[in-house]
Amino acid sequence: MQISRRAFLKCCALASASLGLGPKELVDLESALADPQAPSVLWLQGSGCSGCTISFLNYISPSEPVDAADVLIRSANLIYHPTLSAGAGESVVADIKKAENFILCVEGGVPTALAGHACVPWSEGGREVSFQEAVQVLSAKAKQVLCVGTCAAFGGISAMGANPMGVKSVPEATGRNAVNVSGCPPHPNWIVETLAQLLQGKTLSLDGRGRPVSIYGGRRTCDQCPFHGRGEARTYGVSGQCMEALGCQGEVVSSPCPTTQWNNRVSWCMAAGSPCLGCIDPTFPGATSLLRRRGGPGGRGRGRGRD
């Protein structure tokens, strides 16, 4: 098991290196391998769509562990994951309750209306436990809280518009700082890399929104975009042009998508002729529009988002 964890962290070291971490971080990762007390992981899902989990399962790397199966089977001690756990009912709840020394991964927002009854992830001894209560209790016990996705980090889609169930982000609902890996969904490598750092007990350098600077602190997406300055698309269905006029959010977010790309690098949003939706941003999905939110509601009179 420890050898497997070593393989896992080694890979993550390589992934981190590709994201700009230096030799010192690699040494730290190596030394962390020797620690048999590395924390386990609890993964909870609240008000969301399970898309962050599916994205996590899309993880792929040129070195070991090569994919999600490798991560799950040979690495972190994932005590509970609602989509993957074999057990059900009281037995898994008992394991969640007795967990100590764990990283709490939260996917989805936290509904607070109806005394939390809008999301009940399990029962304990006949009593329904709200997601709000579960996250509050477990985040207080956790070594670290990792918000996986924009809903957990900032509310995101789950808190948009009228937000009838009073969905809050995990930091809002718990009053505890978290490490935020935003994105709707986040890129799998962002999730795995950040989790690896937390498993080592590393203190991550975070931006003002709790996001790892190594991932979210780069240049504006626009400045990395191969289509920037290559003619301006005025309508959809045009490839290889700048999509600012369609409401592209690349000017206001700093995402490594243009370099990391998606799904084993087969493509990414702008390569598919779509403007950046800005899904990593705390303003996502905007008050009334995804693509007209630059500079506040209505944008700056640009980016009508359609013909």
Binding site: I54, L84, S85, G87, T235, C269, M270, G273
Partner: protein, 474 residues
């Protein structure tokens, strides 16, 4: 002496589900005599769309479900296209089908191996596969080890199917490529070649691993060819348009009533959703849509689920791959736990084999988008099929904004609670008669539940289905 057994959480599905079964002796053997299936989460998604730009609905509604995001994008785009009366280019239709086909394939493989298989085979002896209910295991160690290897191989196949979809769609899940008017991505010869490469890999997995494994599990658990039948009412909205007019469909719309083989047309006027046992205001429970808003009410006497109870002509209906394959004439073996798995696998193979043919119809560098104007006032629906069954989006536009939006998902049908007449939902009905050997580890109940592939992320924000144009939301 009847005993109530509660499973909460039911794991290995999307979203939050609780099941309460009453177990009693029937002919001296303990079995389920009554079941209650509860969706334990509510999102209010449709309300949150009000006031927004209709053209962005495909982006937003894909976030209803991270597993089957693509059909939501398709249904939302179709709704606005119907409202704006715009036809999409042939290339866009084909690209949508290709991406949605890949999405179905990843969902079905994920479902069998990662959400269902561990009801029959012990997983790797470590978390998150420990603890597990280690009961009624009928495979020897060699076969078990092989199936666990296939569990891992299937993770790879799921990832590759997502990559296949992303070749055209930009990324998975939550592709930005689905827009009213067509598709954002202009297909290139390189993309077509890349997609074709994935087709070969995926088809090989489905044909040589997935389909045989489904048969292998069925052969060791023949009792589940008899269990989990339910009502026998099947419903399909139809999906995968074979022409831009939407006349031809790979999966035909239709309905089969219990005890008959006759396939009847689907009349959308015959849909209604009831809320006697759901946490919504009873005043909104009706066969006829009203203009009033539906309100969440909690607590409420007699209610136990956030899912409403959609009914077709007052009847609960099963929707999903078995319904599609049966109504399409591709599968006629019966209705049971294994029939659902076999039909799902057969559908996966059918899609895997047809994708290369559709791919050959893609015109490289051809048009993918038709410009359109969002109508000021309009009402329309977008109906399609999702991996788990019939999916409908109903849209009303006022002053160029979304005034009402409504989504009716497959799990609303399958996972519905009792209705106003206290008639159980399809999963609840299917559970009755299921033997339970050990009330502390009722794995038999999980087998029936999982055969439906419930997706609560989809089901729990849904409001009342109405006929197109008469939309009621909460």
């Amino acid at each position: 002496m009847p005993t109530v057994v509660t499973i909460d959480p039911v794991t290995r599905l999307e979203g939050h589900l609780r099941v309460d079964v009453t177990v009693d002796l029937v002919d001296g053997k303990p079995q389920v005599v009554e079941a209650r299936v509860s969706g334990t989460s509510f999102r209010g998604f449709e309300t949150m769309l009000v006031g927004r730009d209709p053209s962005e609905a495909p982006h937003l509604t894909q976030r209803i479900c991270g597993v089957c995001s693509v059909p939501h994008g398709v249904a939302a785009a179709m709704a606005l296209e119907n409202a704006a009366q715009v036809s999409i280019p042939e290339n866009a239709r084909i690209l949508r089908n290709l991406v949605m086909g890949a999405n179905f394939i990843q969902s079905h493989i994920l479902h069998f191996y990662h959400l269902s298989l561990l009801d029959y085979v012990g997983g790797p002896g470590m978390p998150p596969w420990e603890p597990q209910w280690n009961v009624d295991r009928r495979f020897g160690s060699e076969a078990s080890a092989r199936l666990v290897e296939h569990y891992k191989a299937a993770l790879k196949a799921v990832r590759q199917a997502n990559e296949m979809a992303a070749v055209f769609a930009g990324r998975q899940p939550h592709s930005p490529a689905f827009i009213p008017g067509g598709f954002t991505n202009v297909p290139t010869a390189d993309q077509i070649a890349e997609f074709r490469k994935y087709c070969g890999i995926i088809t090989d997995f489905v044909r040589s691993v997935y389909v045989p494994d489904v048969d292998l599990v069925a052969s060791q658990y023949p009792d589940y060819d008899e269990l989990g039948r339910g009502y026998g009412n099947l419903l399909v909205f139809g999906g995968f348009a074979l022409d831009t007019a939407g006349k031809g469909l790979l999966f035909a719309a239709g309905r089969v009533g219990a005890g008959t083989d006759e396939i009847q047309p689907v009349n959308l006027e015959a849909l209604a959703e009831q809320v006697a046992c759901s946490w919504y205001d009873n005043g909104s429970s009706a066969c006829h849509p009203s203009a009033g808003a539906t309100q969440a009410v909690y607590p409420k006497d007699g209610a136990y689920s956030w899912i409403k109870a959609p009914r077709y002509e007052g009847q609960p209906c099963e929707t999903g791959p078995l319904a599609r394959m049966t109504i399409g004439g591709h599968y006629r073996q019966g209705i049971s736990v294994h029939d659902r798995h076999r039909a799902r696998a057969a559908e996966t193979l059918k899609l895997a084999e047809i994708l290369p043919m559709w791919l050959a119809q893609v015109e490289p560098d051809g048009a993918v988008y038709t410009p359109y104007t969002v109508p000021t006032d309009a009402e329309a629906a977008g109906l399609t099929e999702a991996p788990r069954g019939a999916l409908g989006h109903w849209l009303r536009i006022r002053q160029g904004k979304i005034a009402h939006y409504q989504v009716v998902t497959p799990t609303c049908w399958n996972g519905s609670p009792r209705d106003d007449q206290q008639k159980p939902g399809p999963m609840e009905k299917a559970l009755v008669g299921t033997p339970v050997a050990d009330a502390r580890q009722p794995v038999e109940v999980l087998r029936v539940i999982h055969s439906f592939d419930p997706c609560l992320a989809c089901a729990v924000h849904v409001c009342r289905p109405a006929r197109p144009g008469r939309v009621v939301i909460f």
